[in-house]
Amino acid sequence: MRRIISTLIVVALALVMTTPLMATAPQEEGEIVLNFPTFWVGQDSKAEPIADLVESFNAEHASEIRVVIEANPDTDGYRDKINTQMAAGQAPDIFVFAPDPTTFQYYDSDILMDFTEELQGSWRNDFVPGYIEESTKNGRTKSVPYEIGLTPIWYNSELFAQAGVDEFPATIEEFQDAADALKAAGIVPTSQMTGGSNAWTSMLWYSHIVGSLGGPDVWSKPLSDPLFVEAAEVLLRMYQDGNTTRDAVGGDAGVSGGHYMAGNTAMFINGPWYIGRIRGDAPETYAATRLAPAPQVGDYYGHQLGFMLSNLAAANTDDERKRDAVITFMQYMTDPDNVKLVSEAAGSLFAIKYELGADADPLQREFVRAASEATFVIGLFSSRYPVDVVAEFGQALAAMALGEATPAEFVEMLIEVNN
């Protein structure tokens, strides 16, 4: 009896140990199943069109390739999951890759599938020039550019009109006058936040201000450059004298976006992916929303913040059939007609060349106009610095807003983490 039990234990352990090996063994024949964990599910504005695309792809490749969406609605949790899998050397078959200085470290390993060869061919012509280069490190392109972000200032034209402000302020002095007029009308000027993993709204304000002070090459300057302190002083004023809501310190994206959608605040910053949300949840605010470049603080004006938001990546594999299946799916996802479907349904913008249809969302058209009229485009603070520095941004900002740190000390806190 003992011998039987011990044999069973050994067999069970052997099965447990070898299961991962069997899972990665080449598949000689039959349907190839590709797992696709993504946060484009649930309430996400891209959930429905992406699900439709995957369904169409599966129907088109019935009994050959089947893509299975794994729902991970929490973006931070999704990032943790990917980090954990990557550290364990087991990337998902296909996944959404957030291109930033931290995640580009994955390129150093051979865990990711390399698309360099494929992207040299005709597929390359589908992409807006520049994004493949941005996704290429040391000559290797291990993720496919997909969704891009553009984050101009959103303002509620109805609230501005109520306050007697006809045009969005072009300079920081005009901005202050407009803020005073809004406050006199009982309207809070700006949405801000120090919470979340990156203090998103305020980090975008800071990036805009920094761009106005430093110009197109601002991110090549070190954090010790005085312009970063100057920008912090401007951002601090947005937290003072009733220029933002009382819950901005500690508030997260729900607080910041919620106030704008509820018509409590007149100015806000976010990307086009938020169009679907505001259109559904706050139609009056959506109808009153206009876009503008940030007010001029320094020598530069009219710039926008543009960045790669989400690339598509895949696990490296020796299995040629699986590799072909992944590339087939990637090419399907980045097909201009398919991208157009997602873009028009969700309001998002993409690194792929496509024309918006005649019935495209007017606010989405505003984004395209804002991009085309930009005097120059720079990245975000979060696309320039690693995630620990970005996480420190919100903490340092809270310290500054609460009077625990001066603008110079705010920047010092960032420098300390960056070193």
Binding site: T102, Q105, D108, I111, G251, A396, L402
Partner: protein, 283 residues
């Protein structure tokens, strides 16, 4: 032979991960590229960091709050319910109910209650004409940590149930004898109940303190360690370093937590635990 499956599982799921944490805590490693041995440098870096210092201090505040305040409250309520007043079963269920609700749901509810603009707490204070007492509860230096502590400390249900079960097992004859001797309710609780449940109180305190040491969820969901790191705990710092792919420093925090936990358990066992064992023997 019969122990071997358990031993294998213990080695696989406890000894190996623990060894891995301590081994990688001595490395400069991002989980992807080649690791570099740096000795105790990660531990030194952590202890020199102001954020780490705030976090470890907050962890001890959590340990004390849960170990002493929460357990005291749980014991008090258990002693009252053990007297079986009218509706005691209902209250027992009500107190335990939060333990079967997701921490995320509870945290979201408290975030809404604490919100400075539309939260129920500030609205209630305004209704009473106490506007000067309203705060941005989770966003001010002075109120953020107490706000999170309060919403956790009052969830006493889990320990209350354990302590209540212990009290209910005390023979009724002890109390009858005390009553005959003229002892009032307070005297009965102090001289009979508390000594009799001392071992379970020590166990509950140990568990609560261990939870205080590894506390993460509520702080992560309500403040993410802010504002200005004032509510940060080691678990939050570990998570942030993990997110930054700084596995060396993250695992050094993990190693520090393990060592503090072992020391804490040893201290509890050698002080409160020793007396509890002694009282066990006299019962």
């Amino acid at each position: 032979m019969f122990l071997s499956p358990a031993l294998i599982l213990f080695a696989l799921y406890f000894v190996y991960p623990l060894g891995f944490v301590f081994a990688t805590s001595t490395l400069d490693w991002n989980g992807i590229s080649n690791a570099r041995f740096v000795g105790l440098r990660n531990y030194l870096d952590n202890f020199q960091s102001r954020t780490f210092q705030i976090s470890i201090r907050n962890n001890f505040i959590w340990v004390a709050s849960l170990g002493f305040v929460q357990i005291s409250l749980a014991a008090l309520v258990a002693m009252i319910l053990a007297r079986q007043p009218r509706g005691w079963r209902f209250f027992r269920t009500v107190y335990f109910l939060p333990n079967v609700i997701s921490q995320v749901a509870i945290a979201m509810m408290w975030a809404a209650l604490y919100n400075a603009e539309y939260g129920a707490i500030n609205q209630f204070l305004e209704l009473l004409g106490l506007e000067h007492l309203t705060h941005n509860w989770l966003g001010e230096i002075g109120t953020a940590l107490p706000s999170i502590l309060i919403q956790q400390v009052f969830y006493i249900g889990y320990f209350m149930i354990i302590i209540l079960a212990s009290i209910m097992s005390i023979p009724e004859s002890y109390y009858s004898a005390a009553q005959i001797d003229g002892a009032n309710v307070l005297q009965q609780e102090i001289h009979i109940t508390l000594p009799m449940i001392r071992p379970i109180l020590v166990t509950a305190m140990t568990l609560a303190m261990a939870y205080g040491l590894r506390h993460f969820e509520a702080t992560f969901l309500l403040t993410n360690g802010g504002p200005a790191h004032r509510t940060s705990v080691l678990g939050i710092q570990l998570y942030k370093m993990f997110s930054a792919l700084d596995y060396g420093h993250a695992n050094a925090i993990g190693g520090t937590l393990v060592i503090i936990g072992l020391v804490l358990i040893a201290v509890i066992r050698s002080t409160l635990g020793r007396h509890a064992d002694a009282s066990d023997m006299t019962q």
